[in-house]
Symmetry: C2
Subunit: 277 residues, 2 copies
């Protein structure tokens, strides 16, 4: 472990989207050597070296793969053939997660094809149930990620943790659970009850801060400590359910992306040590 | 009624923020002559002519004042003197609403002074209870406006209709209710139940569409029909509670503001007739 990595980083993970200047191979090696316990990867970046190569490199470097981003985007225009192709693409994502040995495949539900939001939500639920049937024999778990309501029109009809849990529970079994992300969920007046109810179905915890007002709807997430979220409290709520898995820092922000990845890893570790644990 | 105003506009109202090129006096006259049943006004624009003048003009033109925007912003930095000044400012807003004969004073809660969001929410609730004690003898009702969770960090700790209703119910009496705005609430998976539960406490209905992704966090609201919301369904949910009050169109959008207000009123009336009623 390098000298700049504080102790107690065992659960700390980085999502590759925070350090896009590195390839998947560079990120795996760089994060392992910075003392991180795990890394969340993205399919397009894994494709550059291949899932097999990424998996073997992670094993040799002694770093876990906390998540693969991402499956989902189930509905598209609503045409049957397009939906089938989207499901086939999700099957490929499951295959890649299995080859990587990723702890979970993250699902971003996608928008509704029409203005009938509740119909879209039912269709997303059915698609996740279908995907679960493919993921179970592959040994891959599926983490439904409720996204901030700001994304309800274009990225995810699943917007609250209670809603994601209802979908997971309705499918049953132990393949489908939830990804909890502070950026997406911090505003929810029902958050504490929802997190408590999620115990046993939490497949991952992601942290980013909320900058107010958001400088960009998509890439305006804040480095830990730069925003309005009580991250220590948020993490404590999740810990209280018994979750002991990785804590993945995922910051979509062009200002962060300009920084040398090694420096970002040092900043994240320092902020994590003082603001989260 | 002018020839361009479709029939059935009796409940249609415009919020002055949609047509800021007009003064309050111009807006009152222009909306009345376009066949609108009511207008929502803003304090800073009312101040230009005085509440008494606006009230008498609205009476003589035969148009109701559906709302006054706005009170709220209760907490500030958390310093006691600042809070007292903010409450005095809210008392002045109540006085103006009474002088105008506005159907309700809209409350935007404001952000929390610290990262303890739940503490901020309790303090906002207590401030609204205090304000209700001033508003009751003045005959002014207070409409808590839950705002989109996108604003939780800088504009409103009240972000869901269920939460606004809980605040109103905890205060009791009939002074405090809710403002329902499609732009702020459309994403909520619990919306139908919350609207049904709001029956009797709905003090106003505002409509704007949601553009995805939002072109601007503050001024990116969509003209009716330009976005993702099923406005007819939304309005029907509110009607089903027994609400028969004004339906106020409020579109914060620089592209709309560039248009001649008379043309905007025609567009709103036409969209309303085809997409809402």
């Amino acid at each position: 472990m390098s000298t700049f990595a504080p102790d107690g980083l065992g659960r700390l993970a980085i999502n590759q989207a925070t350090i896009p200047r590195w390839t998947a191979e560079e990120a795996i090696v760089g994060c392992a050597r910075a003392g991180y316990g795990a890394i969340g990867l993205w399919r397009d970046r894994v494709a550059e070296c291949g899932a097999g190569r990424a998996a073997s490199l992670a094993r040799s470097e002694g770093i876990a793969i906390s998540s693969l981003c991402r499956g989902g985007w189930f509905l598209g225009s609503g045409a049957a053939e397009e939906r089938h192709e989207r499901m086939r693409e999700n099957f490929r994502a499951v295959d890649e997660a299995a080859e990587l040995g990723a702890a979970t495949l993250v699902l971003v539900s996608g928008p509704a094809p029409t203005k009938d939001l509740e119909a879209g939500r039912r269709e997303v639920r059915d698609a996740i149930a279908e995907l679960a049937g493919y993921a179970a024999p592959a040994g891959v778990s599926l983490a439904i990620e409720p996204m901030h309501p700001m994304y309800c029109g274009d990225r995810s009809v699943v917007v609250t943790l209670a809603q994601a849990l209802e979908v997971a529970s309705s499918i049953g079994g132990d393949v489908v659970g939830v990804m909890i992300d502070s950026y997406h969920l911090w505003w929810d007046p029902a958050l504490e009850a929802a997190i408590a109810a999620a115990g046993g179905r939490i497949l991952g915890l992601q942290l980013a801060d909320w900058i107010a007002p958001p400088p960009d709807p998509l890439n305006g997430r804040g480095m830990l400590g730069d925003g309005t979220i009580d991250l220590r409290h948020f993490k404590a709520l999740v810990d209280a359910t018994g979750y002991v898995g990785p804590i993945e820092i995922e910051v979509f922000n062009p200002a962060v992306w300009q920084i040398d990845p090694e420096e970002t890893l040092r900043t994240v570790a320092a902020r994590y040590a003082t603001l989260v644990v």
